[in-house]
Amino acid sequence: MKTIKLDKNPLKLVKDVLNDLKASPDLGIYKCVQCGMCASICPGASQTEYDPRDMIRRVLENDETIIDDETIWDCFSCYTCNSICPSGNNASEVNQILRQMSIEKGEGAQKIKDFCAYGDSFMEMGIGSIPNEFFNVMVKDVGNKYMDLKVNIEDIRTDLGLGNYILPKESTDEIEAILDNSGFKVRLEKIKRCKK
């Protein structure tokens, strides 16, 4: 007799997405009618192989290979898909949740490793900053005046009547404690250790 093996948990991925802390309570992924409005207006889709409609289909079909799919990293997080969806779905939010799943698995951690300096500066000053590697590219692209601006930023702010933007020590201590207890510090170190 011919038997068909049914997936025991065919909605696992979509349920995991909906149970994520990032998922809004009104995230309408089940209502997706695959109309493609999201893909038609998506800057990522116009420039790369990223396809928000297909990403949603694969989540609904429990295709967990979407988590490892390189194309999810080409979303611009502009939420144009969210603003245009006739079904109340939010592909941008789903994308962010899939990226976190990829980071948890390890592969995604490699994708964000270069941004770790932002986390270090946040714990040090209470403000994130552009990681050095990317900053140097910006200086090359924008020109040396961009570097001059950075060197002189505190004097410029004084001329504008603005105070110091770096938080007082007692505040950065509070922030560091919060980020330690929230697990961010451990997360950051884990991401730093991942191999490229």
């Binding site: 962010q96 692209d141 001329d159 961010f184």
Partner: protein, 326 residues
Amino acid sequence: MKTIPDKDILLFKSCLVNVEYPGVESSACYIFDKVGVEYYVDKRQSCCTGLGHYYDLFDQLSTTALAARNFHIAAKTNHKNIVTLCATCYAILKKTVKILNYNEDARNKVNTILDESGLPEMEYTQDDMDPSKNIFHIAEILFNKRDEISKYITVDLSEFKIATHHACHYCKVHYNDTIEGVREPNLMDGIVNAMGIDTIGWYDHKRVTCGAGFRQRFTNKEISLAVTSEKLEVLEDKNVEILLHMCPNCQMQFDRYQPYIEKKLGKKFNIFHLNITQYIALAMGADPYSVLGIQTHTVPIEPLLKRLKQKYDLKEDNRLKTLKSV
């Protein structure tokens, strides 16, 4: 129409305004002082984590715990109406308030984190903040005060062709709370119109992203700038001379990279980039250097100022001359 406050405002500092276009903050203060908006800036307030959040580096729980700390500062100083200078701060804060209000488990976790950090006084109680009644973008405050603003206009800016770039994270994230249009945004057009000046209104690509895309600008520069270039070309076809911004990240993408894109495409765009706060402050007669902070711009604003009847002491090629150079 939602109620927009003009007092008890915590003017929320933005990481990119701080170090890229600090003149956006000083211009905001200049306008608020003129039209009588009561606000406060707190040095203890931390960054919203926005860039780190969209680099996928920050997890949602950490972002929410830090937001609860900032909400405590706002409440304790009796400035519960948070007004952001950046669209991403606006969207991040709204989302964290929503999570803290509807998700009991997350709220308990955040409160445990605050307790363990020795900050039990910062614990969040459900509905301490209202996502629609306590979190605003500065463009909303300015729109609400547009008639008042129009009374203080002393510099004629009517000769320029103006377009607006409405930030995605204001319009499209919490779209039920967006005023003056989501798919056809007109929030900044409405402010400019009230000042007696026309904008070009709708244009193809009006709602399209600046192209920064958080990680994309750094890890996929070519595709990021391709999106920016397309928008610049549409604006050039319309002979736009000033593009108005309401988010420092968008302003950075256009202002810092316009000369780079011009070199790459072998053409000139001749588009000035100003934040809506800088534009209004300029029209009110504010000094371009000590209020607008145009010395931090990459596309020089001096050629725009030279065309005005108002005379300024322009510093042009030596904008940073008195300061250190590397």
